[in-house]
Amino acid sequence: MTEANENKQTTTADTEAAPVEAADKPAAPVKTAAAKPAAAAKPPVEESPETIAKRAEAQKRLDEMKAILEDKFGEGALEETGLQKFQPTLVIKPEYWLPVVTYLAHDESLTFNYPECFAGTDYPAKGFIEVALYLYSMSNGRFITVKVRTPRDNAEVDSLCSVFEGANWEEREIYDLLGVNFKGHPNLVRIMMDDDYKGHPLRKDFSVWEQQ
């Protein structure tokens, strides 16, 4: 809905890789960002004031988070930022993945201590696999999404098992179904498929027929 997704949209369209450096640019004005994808599907819907207020609120949160992280880890830590619907989303560079999440989870003013959802998505057109982590801060009631991208061949991301115990199985599932290697994972073996299964089913180029 916002810039991050918009970028994805365009990159999917012209298939050329090179993710746009969103972190450099200021976040686009909320209204236009929201209207664009909607226009693609159907005539623009009149947005209620609450929706706009909610989005502005989320944007504020996002800017806040961005400032905090850039302050702590430098400008280079973030690859991209944006809103998904009302969810502040930050794409973090792979080398900063573990420290950033550790910081988010353990810092006393942030305490994003609850991993809500762990998801991996394959984007063959853009040439990377994205791992998204939905975090919730139980102490101040905030939601945030952090993401990391890794190239499709030789996909590798730092494991978060040291931060969240619950990351263990989620990472195994992503490894199993998407083939992302989690460095430092205590027991990275297949969880859903057989141990001798070949291929990673959730990759877009996976074919059942190649199994035989």
């Binding site: 619907k85 809500e116 939905y134 115990e165 619950g166 297949r190």
Partner: protein, 369 residues
């Protein structure tokens, strides 16, 4: 006399996937020293059907029957999760009556699911009767669902934008009459089980974990609430019309099996309250709102969750604007809640293993997706 220590040997015990109390096809490989468990490893995936992969080739309406088969004990709530996620992504409005019907069936289904927990858990602990008593009540609910949706287990009742069918004539009255009846039954269960010293001995102080641990593992639902953490999606991230109802969120104190049991029992009462309010407030009206025939979620990423019977049931949709999701990920509470088991089982004996496993309340259909 040689005073050498008695030599003991550790034994590898393979529990499941075919075992009376692994609730399906869970497999546990436990290293036991006598009856004490030294290490437990969980092996899952025996029921993996690749729902997430299948969903990528299906339209959103077609995914709904598949969600029935995740947590098949609470299929209405699964239906609710996906329609809620798609509606939120598409900013669709749902008619009032449909919302009320959804809440009624979802809460009844929560009761049915908790009833099964009660029965199955007591069966794990060796008591037969609660299982059959619970099933008698569950049967009434199942029958009501059969009347409203035409199926007893895999309801496929909700649609994006509303529900498939309005309640048949007299159905709401049936629900209304069921509430006092079930209150009586709850009292009976408490008499039968909650005061039983043998039962209390089996569950009190067993399998306890702290709040921090529960959060770190990402536990949700009763597994999180049993530690005293008030976290219920219906309250903390209100969806549907749950903000209109007044209900408590029962929490435990110690995070042990007893707290998990008692939270289930109390939650049934709270669900009953919601159903009671909902059948009071429900008005006549349409049950299907305006929704396009072919659903196209605007491009983007969405995550929406509902309070499932086992915990936070989340749906993560990545859409590229087509009528099928680009990526469809399910945050399955059972899958996440199950992870804590090996840690809880260490140092316990074989009997406690079953008590702990049962209290976590998992459904393998949901674990393996």
């Amino acid at each position: 006399m040689a005073t050498t220590e008695l030599r003991t040997e550790e034994m590898l015990l393979n529990v499941g996937p075919q075992h009376p109390s692994t609730h399906g096809v869970l497999r546990l490989v436990v290293k036991v020293d006598g009856e004490i468990i030294r290490e437990a490893t969980l092996v899952i995936g025996y029921l993996h059907r690749g729902t997430e992969k299948l969903a990528e080739d299906l339209q959103y309406t077609q995914i709904i029957p598949y969600t029935d088969r995740l947590d098949y004990l609470a299929a209405m709530i699964n239906n609710h999760a996906i329609v809620n996620a798609v509606e939120q992504a598409m900013d669709l409005q749902v008619p009032e009556r449909a919302e009320y019907l959804r809440v009624i069936v979802a809460e009844l289904n929560r009761i049915a699911s908790h009833l099964l927990f009660l029965g199955a858990y007591l069966l794990d602990l060796g008591a037969m009767s609660p299982f059959l008593y619970a099933f008698q009540e569950r049967e009434t609910i199942t029958q009501m669902f059969n009347e409203i949706s035409g199926a007893r287990l895999t309801y496929n009742y909700m649609r994006v934008g509303g529900v498939k069918w309005d309640a048949p004539p007299g159905w709401i009255d049936k629900v209304r009459a069921y509430i006092p009846h079930f209150r009586e039954k709850l009292k009976m269960y408490h008499n039968l089980v909650t005061g039983n010293e043998v039962f209390l001995g089996r569950v009190k102080g067993i399998g306890a974990y702290s709040q921090e641990k529960a959060l770190g593992y990402g536990l949700s639902g009763i597994n999180l609430r049993s530690t005293g953490f008030k976290w219920d999606i219906r309250r903390n991230k209100p969806y549907s019309i749950y903000d209109r109802f007044d209900f408590d969120i029962p929490v435990g104190k110690n995070g042990d099996c007893y707290d998990r049991y008692i939270c289930h029992m109390m939650e049934m009462e709270e669900s009953l309250k919601i159903v009671e309010k909902a059948v009071e407030q429900i008005q006549d009206g349409p049950v299907m709102g305006k929704a396009p025939k072919i659903l196209r979620v605007p491009a983007g990423e969405y995550y929406a969750s509902v309070e499932g019977a086992k915990g936070e049931l989340g749906i993560y949709i990545v859409s590229d604007g087509k009528d099928k999701p680009y990526r469809f990920k399910l945050r399955r509470p059972s899958f996440i809640n199950l992870q804590i088991l090996p840690e809880l089982m260490e140092g316990q004996n074989v009997a406690n293993m079953i008590a702990i496993l049962g209290a976590v309340d998992i459904v393998l259909g949901e674990v393996d997706a």
